[in-house]
Point group: C2
Chain length 458, copies 2
């Protein structure tokens, strides 16, 4: 690779900014809302648009694979025998746009205001996919692609990717690659390039407590039975000790310890106590003893009630002992925790702590593996160098508190790690009204991707 | 009083069983549902029926007093200077009848099946009021009333008697009496005559916890904030210690101790552990250490969650940290606890235990004083002897776990105690479909009331 080739691709991207923005606007006008059956035709339309883009880039084997719900778009280019193969992930579906009345401009009429383009899916993640297309286009149209690429673009991410794992499992040869690139994570801020190297997993439960056969009169029977709502509260309260540590038996046994080097790297991230206070609006933070807020939100496991209901919750008063009480409880997991093992721990906790005067039932709703990637392999170094070239500073290495399940799925089924990046910003309003994409960051992102692909060349 | 006079009144009641039943059927056909504005005319109709009954008994000053909602019926007979005056309480309103499809016969078409008459209000408490009318009638039509009587019949009991205390406070002279008789409590079983001498009070709260400004993503923010639902659970759990004792500061300070004699009297009541297990359907009872189930349900204070809600409670999973959580919590109180003082104790508990990382708000919804009466004054002895004459056994003296707020109101405003009885049975389905009244017990009740009034004669 020569500096000329790099410069030619970058120049191409710079010259075509308007054309690239037009392409983005095209796909943003398609309301590919995956949750709503009424949008099935739009989903199909978006898949076809994606496939057309891949064909336009000279991809081969471009195909729209049907699934039980929304199709998967595939395409590949494998022109260089001894170069690595990157599997680029994307999803072309979007969240619903409602509440519509809170949008300043219509969600599927992309509108540029100031430095940003406003539309549903602009940041999450049509903008990210178009950035990968446009970086590849710049290379193809100048010196040619320096690596082999495959694309896996799904239409069900916003509904939990119900058919993705099956598709990957049954197309392992087609999807074989050296590593995956997932641009569905974002940056800490527009000036702070970010690489996400770990994601938390999830174990989600519904805990149902029952006691009396029916709601009881709290006067007649108050004092002789264990109130299921009180019992549920007691069980939940017992799931954490006074130091904020989770008491499910063995919960921390397989939690990977944070080393000094990693903690120093995480400490560079400028999201301190003040940041979290502002973002959440709570009067004070509650963190695990011995860990920074940043470590607690990404590198430590949690236990949270997501919902809880029992008895009479309307206006006024009703003097009953409720027959039942229910809580949805979920744990965010970190490497090397296993959601199935955490399910067994929860069950053991209940067996050991639930009193004999109530009945309980635990439903294990769904789980997802946590994941962590090497911060020092060749693809990560290539991406890190690309970000540093464009932003002029070494990227932050971040552990994301949420989940991107496909990363774990690919680790498991394809035995590949993912480089996780993307050019969305925390204030992009994804999943909310007035979703936007910051265009200067997006243009920089396309340049960074050009560097990334070139840096991967053997 | 001679035995002849007693016998004549009893004979009159026995001869008029059918006529008495017809009168009961008349009032049971009037759907005087106080909760539903659509029934306002029926309420009025029922009040007029009651007033007509009083006039038929030769009562004076019979009057229907309007209130802000449903009227109060009054009548009196004060023919004997040196005899005591009994204020007889009643309510002519009833609970709604729904769910209608669970009734075997229509709720306002009273139907005799077997030994019982089925209709809404049969047991609670039109049947009880008609029993008092028919006992007085038997006396009036034979040797004359041996005591002075006043009647206070309200139409708002099933909606919490919002206007009763004001009416009593502003009619103290009219209502002046030596004691009150309240037949709105029942018997332990048809063979077990019962006098209720104590009622629990109530302090009802809504506790609202808030934390984040909005629901938060449990992945992104899990680990740095105190989840309001978890915090609520922890606060509720802390309201009782491992021995089941309530931890609100000073909660037991003014609880009147149970003496040996009273505990022995309570121990006669045949409602043991098996009774409560069958009635509630719980797998095991939970009682306060050192007290029998019977004592726990009537003579000891409680703390129960009546309802609780937070976050996402629909089907499936949603990974949020809820912004708020709410619980309705109420304490049943025993003499000499004070609901206002218990409100202060709850507030103190929260001040001492709520962490600084959440916000809380306590709404004191409503309260009611507990009450306890002498078990050995003249009116109680008169009623006890009457029950023993009819049933052939000394009555049980019971502490009722629920509340009959009018008892405390009369204690407070009129400085009188109530004799609390009535001839409803635990399986009468009051407040439920297929409410019934056991007629043999009802006829016995009328006879017992005849004895009661005669026993009161100086």
């Amino acid at each position: 690779m020569t500096d000329d080739r790099r410069e030619a691709a970058l120049q191409y991207a710079r010259k075509n900014k308007e054309k690239n923005l037009s392409a983005l606007k095209e796909i943003l006008t398609i309301p590919s809302v995956s949750t709503e059956p009424a949008h099935a035709a739009d989903i199909r339309h978006a898949a076809e648009w994606m496939a057309a883009q891949l064909r336009g880039l000279g991809m081969q084997k471009v195909q729209i694979f049907p699934t039980a719900r929304h199709p998967i778009v595939y395409g590949e280019w494998r022109g260089i025998k001894n170069a690595p193969t990157v599997l680029i992930y994307g999803h072309y579906d979007v969240q619903p746009a409602d509440p519509l009345d809170l949008w300043k401009t219509a969600p599927f009429e992309p509108t540029v205001r100031g430095d940003s383009i406003f539309a549903r899916g602009a940041s999450d993640m049509k903008g990210q996919s178009v950035a990968t297309f446009k970086a590849v286009e710049a290379l193809v149209k100048t010196g040619g692609l320096p690596v082999n690429v495959k694309w896996l673009l799904e239409g069900e991410e916003e509904v939990g990717s119900p058919n993705l794992a099956d598709f990957i499992a049954s197309h392992k040869d087609l999807l074989a690659c050296d590593f995956a690139f997932n641009p569905d994570a974002g940056m800490i801020s527009k000036d702070e390039p970010t690489i996400t190297y770990a994601l938390r997993g999830l174990a989600y439960f519904e805990l149902r407590i029952s006691g009396p056969a029916n709601d009881l009169h709290s006067g007649v029977f108050g004092g002789v039975v264990h109130n299921p709502a009180n019992a549920l509260a007691e069980l939940i309260a017992g799931m954490r000790d006074s130091k904020g540590r989770i008491t499910l038996p063995g919960f921390y046994d397989s939690v990977r310890k944070l080393g000094r080097e990693e903690r120093e790297e995480l400490a560079r991230i400028p999201s301190d106590e003040k940041y979290y206070l502002e973002k959440t609006g709570v009067p004070a933070l509650l963190t695990e003893q011995g860990y920074t807020p940043n470590e607690c939100s990404g590198a430590r496991p949690t236990l949270d009630v997501n919902g809880m209901i029992s008895g009479f919750t309307g206006a006024g008063s009703k003097t009953i002992i409720p027959a039942t009480a229910m809580a949805k409880i979920s744990c965010r997991l970190v490497p090397d925790q296993d959601p199935l093992e955490v399910g067994r721990q929860m069950r053991r906790y209940l067996e050991e702590n639930a009193p004999a005067d109530i009945r309980w039932e635990l439903v294990e709703m769904h789980g997802g593996d946590p994941s962590i990637s090497d911060r020092d392999n060749a693809p990560v170094r290539a991406f890190s160098a690309a970000l540093e070239t464009v932003w002029g500073k070494r990227p932050y290495f971040k552990r994301e508190g949420g989940s991107i399940p496909v990363v774990g799925t690919m680790q498991q089924l394809l035995s590949v790690e993912s480089v996780i990046g993307g050019f969305g910003l925390p204030d992009d309003n994804f999943h909310a009204p007035n979703e936007k994409l910051h265009l200067p960051t997006w243009y920089r992102g396309i340049e960074a991707l050009i560097h990334f692909f070139l840096n991967l060349e053997p």
